[in-house]
């Protein structure tokens, strides 16, 4: 296994939006280089439009870089070797309202190459870990936002990925759900898996991560280690505010 779960080297991504005459271009990330060591929990902070989601999509192979190189465990992100090791939770995941959580998980489990007894065991484990077991009989249409987020996390955990990419995992959740998800992520991290998460909640990032990237207008402004923000007056929030201002 590569010692870096993710590596970005001089990555640039520009979006092109067609207009009536010509097109509008927006550079989401520019000259971006960083590494995420395997087994670490790394956070990504930034204001809206800083390029957080773009980075996550580049890692998952949903976007292709215009320049530079992205590697996931030493492989190209669009290849099946990399994708087999990644679990992705997008912001506000959607599931068809008529299905039950186990049906949705069985579908995504099969897409991850699971079948038979292994699939049943993976679905059961994901339901248990995310606290969805008592709601197995409900349909997704009856789910609250917190339960949907848990289901999103369950689908990302199904195939026991080595790398979890979580886009705003605690967005819009109540304090109890946030607490449960934090506990779950801590347990996953203790198993030696790599977690890369983006969030607007600085306190959550502080509690979960060992290292944080601060993005400003598509550039990596600062990399902050836990020891630094623990020693800084005002903690991570003060460092973040100073970086983005």
């Amino acid at each position: 296994m590569s010692q870096h779960a993710v590596s970005f080297s001089g990555v640039e991504k520009t979006y092109r939006r067609p207009r009536l005459l010509g097109a509008a271009y927006h550079t989401a990330v520019k000259d971006l280089s960083f590494e995420i060591p395997a087994g670490e929990v790394t956070g990504l902070l930034g204001l809206n439009g800083a390029g957080k989601t773009t980075i996550m999509k580049l890692i998952c192979g949903l976007l292709f870089p215009d320049a530079g190189r992205v590697k996931v465990f030493g492989h190209a992100p669009s290849g099946s070797e990399a994708k087999a090791k990644v679990g992705f939770l997008p912001e506000l995941p959607y599931f068809p309202p008529q299905v039950r959580p186990t049906q949705a998980l069985e579908y995504y489990g099969r897409l991850s190459g699971l079948s038979g007894a292994a699939l049943d065991a993976a679905v059961e484990a994901a339901m248990r870990k995310t606290g969805l077991e008592p709601h197995a009989g409900k349909r997704v249409s009856e789910f609250s936002k917190g339960m949907l987020q848990r289901l999103g996390l369950a689908q990302a955990l199904l195939h026991s990925p080595d790398l979890l990419i979580l886009d705003e995992p605690v967005s819009g959740l109540d304090p109890l759900a946030i607490h449960d998800i934090r506990q779950l992520l801590a347990a996953i991290s203790a198993e030696g898996r790599t977690i890369f998460l983006s969030s607007h909640s600085i306190s959550e990032v502080e509690k979960l991560c060992g290292r944080v990237f601060i993005m400003v207008r598509g550039r990596l402004e600062r990399t902050v280690r836990k020891a630094e923000w623990e020693a800084a007056p005002g903690g991570l929030e003060a460092i973040f505010v100073e970086a983005v201002r």
Binding site: K57, L62, K83, V86, F88, P90, R110, S115, H159
Partner: protein, 251 residues
């Protein structure tokens, strides 16, 4: 290979289940029943040609109903998956894009086949109630409709990947379907014309499938191997075009 084929099956079974669960499918099924019933009324008015009118009118309505559903589904399914981010959960997994597209297309065609089968049974039941048997070449006629739907559905998938909205996909595919029923007329006009007009009409002959080939009851009472090959070629061509676009598409 077995693993990838299993992925295609998983995507198609899920697409089929979603389509059947979709409220629009129910609406179309109710509409189909009402339309077939209306064909019985039309048959009564046809006096001595009642059996023929009942069969032709019913088959036409079935094809149009299935076409409307297939076009609605094919023009919106990829767009909807991208808008709801469902596609993120698929393409962040080791699912080849060709397998996903093939699965979605197969799911749509299975839905069309089910719609035609259910409507066909309703139609035959209504015919029996009126005292008529199974019309000649009935199964071939339904199979011909399914081949047309395969051609138009794969074309709509292709168009949906570059058009700006589901409505524009519907319109373009609708024009394609209509033009496909005037292949003989287009050929006749191409032979009669000259210059740029002839060039344009000859190009249209190559760029638009001859859907009249699939009207089994107008032809020899069955679908010829040439028609079957034509459907396979057009479906495969549109699929490959869609695959070329989807493999470059970012989400």
């Amino acid at each position: 290979m077995k693993k990838v084929l299993s992925l295609v099956w998983t995507v198609s079974a899920n697409a089929f289940a979603e389509n059947v669960r979709n409220r629009f499918f129910t609406i179309f099924a109710v509409f189909a029943f009402a339309a077939i019933y209306a064909s019985v009324l039309a048959g009564v008015m046809a006096v001595d040609q009642e059996a023929r009118v009942l069969a032709d009118f019913g088959l036409t309505l079935m094809e149009l109903t299935a076409l409307a559903y297939a076009l609605f589904n094919a023009s919106s399914v990829l767009l909807r998956e991208a808008e709801t981010k469902t596609i993120y959960l698929v393409f962040s997994r080791p699912v080849p894009r060709w397998a996903y597209l093939a699965g979605k297309l197969a799911g749509s065609l299975l839905t069309s086949a089910l719609m035609l089968a259910v409507m066909g049974l309703m139609h035959l039941l209504l015919l029996k109630l009126r005292g008529f048997g199974v019309p000649p070449a009935y199964a071939w006629a339904l199979f011909g409709s399914l081949l047309k739907l395969a051609v138009i559905t794969s074309f709509a998938y292709f168009v949906s990947l570059f058009s700006t909205s589901a409505v524009s996909t519907l319109v373009i595919s609708g024009i394609f379907w209509t033009a496909g029923h005037f292949a003989a007329e287009t050929r006749f006009l191409a032979e009669q014309s000259a210059g740029a007009k002839s060039l344009a009409l000859n190009a249209a002959i190559w760029l638009i499938p001859n859907l009249q080939l699939f009207n089994a009851r107008d032809a020899a009472g069955f679908i010829s191997p040439a028609a079957f090959l034509s459907a396979a070629a057009w479906t495969a061509g549109s699929y490959l075009g869609a695959l070329w676009l989807v493999s470059r598409k970012e989400f």
